[in-house]
């Protein structure tokens, strides 16, 4: 024991160097966790908060809005996970047909770019090209003789807009990991296959795609861990009164009820509910991923 203390004393400079980062962690990560207890207390501006137990959770589940919000979160998130998931894989496979040429490079450079734009900027760009009067999308629709349509205020279209814009933003960037996996395939496998008379199609289906199974499974499982995050920034920028009931998620709800209506305890209960489900999901996906691929999230 004393030798450990000696070692610590010898390394005192190291511990001093840890102080700033740990001060940050404690203030901005640990302190808020304790703040979550507000979900069990009634918030008072003056005087002590009163312990009310599960009152706010019961209220939460008896509020029809919350049920709707929870469903929206799950639906929007699940749509994104299921629909977007295969796209980067397909993108990587298509791109792989081109070997290191200028064409491949330029496609890559452009396709990564949207990933680095903020949702505000993306919304600005999308509003412009979905615009009923001047947008490209409606221009094409009218070319085929259909009337122009404002998709952004259409209740039945808005979730698809969220999925599409998310895909637009992430296909290129998310394909990197699959391209890397493809590059990692040993060339001798291809050569052996060619000797056996395989064509390009055989190569892709029998060699390349099987090599992508493990990264695919890993990424799919990890995505499920973030099921409760349906995309706050995106939704805040794509929402409007006409469609809000379809895409109002737990995060936007917590923001509205908590910070705009000052119902701190109620909102904290909603956000604690979200966090608990989120932690359970992340932990279980981590363990599943570790079981299946011997690789977890960290």
């Amino acid at each position: 024991m004393s030798s450990r203390l000696m070692q610590m004393w010898k390394d005192k400079m190291l511990y001093i160097m840890l102080v700033p980062a740990f001060a940050y962690f404690i203030i901005f990560h640990i302190w808020p966790i304790f703040g979550m207890k507000l979900a069990f207390y009634e918030y008072r501006i003056i005087g002590d908060n009163v312990f009310v137990g599960m009152k706010y959770f019961t209220a939460l589940f008896n509020t029809p809005v919350f049920t709707n919000v929870l469903m929206n979160t799950l639906i929007v998130s699940a749509m994104k996970i299921v629909i977007i998931f295969p796209l980067p894989v397909i993108f990587a496979l298509l791109l792989n047909e081109f070997r290191n040429g200028r064409f491949r490079k330029s496609i890559q450079v452009i396709s990564y770019l949207p990933h680095f734009l903020s949702w505000v900027v993306i919304a600005g760009i999308w509003f412009e090209f979905m615009s009923p009067s001047t947008g490209i999308v409606n221009g094409i629709i009218q070319l085929f003789g259909f009337p122009a349509h404002d998709f952004l205020t259409d209740k039945s279209a808005i979730r698809w807009i969220l999925v599409l814009s998310e895909a637009w933003r992430s296909i290129g960037w998310d394909s990197i990991i699959f391209l890397a996996a493809i590059i990692g395939i040993s060339p001798s496998l291809y050569e052996a296959a060619y000797v056996d008379g395989a064509n390009r199609w055989h190569i892709v289906t029998k060699i390349v795609i099987p090599h992508l199974y493990i990264p695919m499974v890993t990424i799919f499982i990890l995505n499920i861990g973030f099921l409760m995050n349906a995309g706050l920034d995106q939704i805040l920028n794509f929402t409007n009164d006409a469609v809000n009931s379809k895409i109002d998620i737990i995060d936007t709800y917590v923001y509205r009820i908590g910070l705009l209506n000052f119902e701190y305890s109620f909102a904290t209960a909603a956000s604690l509910f979200k966090s608990v489900i989120g932690v359970i999901l992340v932990l279980s996906t981590h363990f599943i991923s570790k079981k299946l691929t011997s690789k977890g999230a960290w």
């Binding site: 840890l18 980062a21 940050y24 302190w31 081109f98 070997r99 396709s111 770019l113 296909i171 908590g258």
Partner: protein, 294 residues
């Protein structure tokens, strides 16, 4: 590789990929074209065009002359620069300490970090903390918010572990303390991961909009993304209309609102484009290598 000749299927794939990429390229470049077009002809510009109609910098002049926009731009730059530098520094210092051999208490510290990684604090609690430490409506709130990312910290630790121990030992024998070791040896050697992670911090700081909108309430502390949202999502033209008035007095024809919006979007994209070569060179390379190693 055998498949180098142009076949029909390859041509087909090429067309699909080009069309897909054009949906990303054209709308972004169209914003630039709109912003640089001359005010009297910008209304002729179609959504699929990538070259400006005429050429003028007037939209940028108007947008930047507006004191609210220039203040927002300044605030965004301040937060991004100061925030990124502090983030990089703290991440690297912490990574250095955590990669030291015989560090007593390393295991509990790592467990602590993983708990932090899993448990996202809620918005209300973060707001309350900012309030308690009196940083609400202060630019420093956005500097310290998400100051150290545990995921990047772990990446940084992997890089520092690669630095040959003998180098550090040699400096130790010459009598260098940990702080000196860190500044003189680790920092210079970790230049590549530093740039990679730094640019990632920078992108996040520059693009952060929701937290800026709740932590920074007064007009003086607005950042560019929040300002942009006002124009784009809330269609609040008051700020820009003020600018248009200003312009009428100087005798220029009436301005197109969408062009002013485009100019603001361009201002918000340009810093990312300036970082883009570094992003491409280091980060995508890193992801590639990481993927292969796995």
């Amino acid at each position: 590789m055998i498949g180098n000749k142009i076949t029909l299927s390859k041509l087909f794939i090429g067309v699909i990929l080009s069309l897909l990429t054009l949906t990303m390229f054209v709308p972004i470049v169209n914003m630039f074209a709109r912003a640089f077009s001359s005010p009297d002809r910008v209304h002729l510009l179609q959504g699929y065009e990538i070259l400006p109609r005429g050429f003028s910098l007037i939209h940028f002049q108007v947008v930047l002359q507006n004191p609210i926009v220039s203040q927002a731009l300044f605030n965004s730059l301040f937060i991004t620069i100061v925030g990124t530098v502090s983030s990089i520094f703290l991440t690297t210092v912490t990574a250095y300490v955590l990669t030291r051999k015989n560090l007593v208490g390393k295991t509990p510290i790592m467990v602590f970090l993983i708990i932090i990684m899993i448990f996202e604090p809620g918005i209300i609690q973060e707001y309350m903390v900012m309030k308690d430490i009196a940083l609400l409506d202060n630019l420093w709130a956005m500097v310290v918010y998400r100051l150290v990312n545990v995921y990047y910290l772990i990446i940084m630790m992997r890089f520092i572990e690669e630095i040959p121990e003998s180098l550090i030992e040699a400096a130790k024998i010459d009598g260098a303390g940990h702080m000196k070791l860190f500044m003189r040896i680790v920092l210079p050697l970790a230049r590549v991961p530093l740039m990679t992670i730094g640019m990632f911090y920078a992108v996040v700081k520059w693009n952060e909009f929701f937290k800026s909108s709740i932590f920074l309430s007064s007009k003086d502390n607005t950042v560019l993304q929040v300002m942009l949202r006002q124009f784009i999502v809330e269609r609040d033209t008051s700020t820009l209309v003020g600018a248009a008035e200003l312009l009428k007095n100087s005798g220029v024809a009436q301005l197109d609102f969408s062009a002013l919006k485009a100019a603001t979007i361009v201002i918000a994209i340009v810093p990312i484009l300036m970082l883009y070569p570094i992003i491409l060179k280091h980060y995508t390379g890193g992801v590639m290598e990481g993927g292969v190693k796995e």
